[in-house]
Symmetry: C2
Subunit: 546 residues, 2 copies
């Protein structure tokens, strides 16, 4: 077949930092350091030091394809590792330091990491891993000589010493764009963590999607605060999109409390911030407690919220108190992560805040590059009518087709779609709304009941601290909802009052068959409801009428 | 080497229109038709009819890789051909109907086009080609039955009849992304036209660059008027970027006069318009003649000007009379075409209009995906200091590596860069400014003199209608500038007055060694100065002091 005659230039991560150094040499990267002070450097600095780092890695014997791990917060040295490790053809493996030490040990050994770079704050964590991660040839503390810790780790290296004397005359290799660039493990609620292996191609394409006007609109005029950690799916690709666009980046280090984040937003004139709802809750609490006037003090225009659903009240508070628009986004580690972005359409101009908030509650519309479909249990396509809920499947050049060192094949459906594990609706304009996790949806007589919708309805009761809904076996309906509630301290609530409260708030056939009160609910390491454990706890439970 | 585990999804042109049909089904494509009235349809309509077209092409025996030619203005049927032909794996060959018939004949035969689609206005042109393009199996008039022309062409097909009865249940083939998608011939001033063969990959990557905030920022909120013809380098990629973003497109058909363009801008509430300086001159003249108030009547925010340099006065008029920002852009047919875009940087906020216009005169900064370098005659890199002029070379996945059916290899330099034929400077921020064409630059004693800069200085004289500068042989300096001037009717001007006028306006050693007055200058078919012919005309000329 006739091929085009365009240049066969591979899409490489090194080309992003080269571009930034040529086109945005003076644009700043601002970091709050583990050592304490604010650090400022430019894309030209990062480019130069990244080449020194690549020289140093080569001298340490790192070869293309080998995995180099990090346990680190957001900062310029971490960003240098993003470019230095991947740029030379090795694989950057960012590890979530909040995982249980046993999980980190498993992950390091499964990935066969050969080097481990870590922040000052994780000396104790790494000491606890000593002797358990035999593949790691050397550990490097991401600091300078003056701040090197006293510790028991043998042969510990110092980052600044390592790169300090190196030449910056390093030429990036011209790699195949499908070569692996980075690795990130998902922390599922079941089984061992699984590694998602990104490529140079997927990372560059994903950056373009992030820089598109109707993507995350990352541009040279933005000052972008990455509250989302660089160990979470490459900080949603922002270190790459930043270099592609020349956006000014603000990296908050370990200080994610409300006061620190607010201070950075104010002092660095942040225009766009990205993070999960939890950190925004802390920020909003700080604003309340300290009686701040973000509208007057900040120039924040947009807040990208992902990781879990952005509550309506959060979007409203950012609109009213900050004059900032919440961009609800959705994705997963397996998707690099960008899948959907909840931007408004031209015809939404003129909506009231209430009407706008109703749209912003949705997870948004697929960016170009991600195809979505809804299917039933048999894999048959369902309509995109905004009503019909189905399994959400995705396809695209930055969606995974397998897990690292995973023997299991057949992850994708016959058309090449990946099952997100979410249940969702999609409307005629393409707005997607997650209604449940597939494994949590309650299948009652062939119809699906959203456990999340029921939980949200239940926590609206003033005496409810937390609520979970699971499916309990039922002779006639296969499954019926069981509501498990933690009362607020001093909260008065009975089964009957709870069920009465739900009347009119959910469809009548969704009303749970029973309510059980417990002192606490089980959670995962990342703070999500541990429904698997909950189902185990209630495996012998029988519904009253079943 | 370790490969990533991302999905192996090819980047295909068909995926753009599929995306638009899913995400922007109701967004409009507005066309002024050759038949007369304004036509409105949606991306969903284009998607459906494009599938019908692909079915029809298959029935006509078109197979993947074959070339399908068009002679057509901007309209929805032309857009359907963009997607239908390329989507099925064939190659869309858009031909400039303004070329001389002999050139069109050469191009059709060189490309070995098998079908020719054309607008009503080109019946006569196609009739004149009859018998000279034996490879063309069938000609299709892009109209409906009611408007079919009476003409001598045997077996003429009607577009609407062709696709009318076809099924729209056509599934796009999953092609290799490097398969050829479209073909566009350059009309150089020397030799035969040369074909640039784009691929699906290059077209999709180029679209991302166009949709990036710091590219052309094509987004769903824009209403984009494509004054640039769809036979000019794929209308600068806008039919693709439009579908990628869901921008509303306005296609002006054959009516490019000032009144028609102004009317479309006003009636369709155009926010962004793209075109060459010539059409904007016509628009500005119309605004003057008709004493219009574009500021009050239009909502035009940006005008992208490319094809040739945007004069400072044009940027100023759009700023003052339209409140519209001129985005100066540069590229070539060989570059798909996007190379640089002259957007402002954050630190330019607060500039006066004069200061801003000085920046807007430059061709702009390379978009991510295009690498540029300046070299001297020996191919040695020159500094990007904003002063040193050198040959401008480019590299990237949407830059050509050869011409269609061209035996000559070695088009690229050893590092894979393509020589644009332009001479330029690049400053520390990456702003590029074209100073001359390589073949027109005057090499005086090892230093370069810009013929364009001299011509611009000369036409500033009120008695000069047009001016050209060529290098004339010189014993001591190898070459010295010769200025050739066309006086305005009634203009009084002597050699001495002309040279005196240039004093202080250009470097003293740039002052031409002689001035010659002529009645007219030779031009190419596309209206550019024909310097090659000019040099032939003056090949026996001797400078006074040489």
């Amino acid at each position: 077949m006739l091929k085009g005659l365009m240049q066969d230039r591979p899409l490489l991560i090194s080309s992003l930092i080269e571009h930034a150094a040529r086109l945005h040499p003076r644009r700043e990267i601002v970091s709050r350091t583990s050592e304490g002070p604010i650090h400022r450097c430019t894309y030209a600095d990062i480019d130069r030091r990244t080449r020194q780092l690549a020289s140093a890695l080569t001298a340490l014997g790192v070869t293309p394809g080998q995995r180099v791990a990090t346990l680190a917060w957001n900062g310029y040295r971490h960003m240098e590792l993003y470019y230095g490790v991947s740029g030379m053809g090795a694989v950057l493996h960012t590890i979530n330091p909040r995982l249980f030490p046993e999980q980190i040990e498993y992950i390091v050994n499964h990935a066969e990491d050969c080097l481990l770079f870590f922040d000052l704050g994780f000396v104790g964590l790494v000491e606890s891993l000593a002797g358990k991660i035999p593949g790691v040839r050397a550990c490097v503390v991401m600091t300078d000589r003056a701040h090197m810790p006293e510790c028991s780790l043998p042969g510990l290296l110092c980052y600044e010493d390592l790169i300090g004397g190196r030449s910056d005359a390093y030429d990036w290799p011209v790699l195949d764009e499908n070569v692996a660039s980075s690795l990130c493990y998902t922390s599922g609620t079941t089984g061992n963590p699984k590694g998602v292996l990104y490529s140079h191609r997927s990372s560059v394409l994903h950056s373009w999607a992030a820089c598109a006007v109707d993507g995350l609109a990352i541009g040279a005029a933005e000052t972008v605060l990455l509250v989302v950690p660089m160990f979470h799916v490459n900080a949603w690709g922002m270190p790459y999109a930043g270099a592609m666009s020349g956006a000014r980046l603000v990296l908050p280090g370990p200080a994610l409390d409300g006061a620190s984040i607010y201070g950075l937003m104010r002092d660095e004139q942040v225009t766009l911030a990205l993070g999960v709802p939890t950190v925004w809750l802390m920020l909003l609490q700080h604003v309340d407690t300290a009686r701040l006037k973000p509208r007057d003090e900040l120039c924040l225009r947009r807040v990208v919220i992902g990781g879990s659903s952005a509550p309506r009240t959060m979007s409203e508070r950012f609109a009213t108190d900050f004059s900032a628009f919440v961009v609800h986004a959705w994705g997963m580690t397996e998707m690099s992560p960008l899948g959907t972005v909840c931007n408004l359409l031209p015809r939404h101009a003129g909506l009231t805040l209430e009407e706008r908030l109703a749209i912003q509650e949705k997870q948004g519309r697929a960016v170009y590059g991600v195809e979505m479909k809804l299917v039933d249990d048999a894999g048959v396509r369902l309509p995109c009518d905004g009503e019909t809920a189905g399994h959400l499947l995705v396809r695209g050049p930055w969606v995974t087709r397998g897990y690292y060192r995973d023997a299991g094949a057949g992850l994708l459906d016959p058309d090449g779609f990946f099952d997100t594990g979410d249940v969702a609706t999609i409307d005629a304009d393409g707005y997607m709304r997650i209604t449940d996790r597939s494994k949590d949806v309650i299948k009652s007589g062939g119809e699906w009941i959203s456990s999340i919708a029921l939980e949200n309805a239940a926590v609206a009761h003033p005496a409810v601290a937390e609520a979970a809904v699971i499916g309990a076996a039922h002779d006639k309906w296969q499954e019926r909802p069981l509501l498990i509630v933690v009362r607020k301290p001093g909260g008065e609530l009975t089964r009957e009052l709870m069920l009465e409260f739900l009347q009119g708030r959910v469809a009548s056939w969704w009303i749970p068959d029973d309510v059980v009160f417990v002192d606490q609910l089980p959670h995962t390491a990342t703070g999500k409801l541990h429904k698997l454990k909950l189902r185990e706890m209630f495996k012998d439970y029988r519904l009253p009428a079943a």
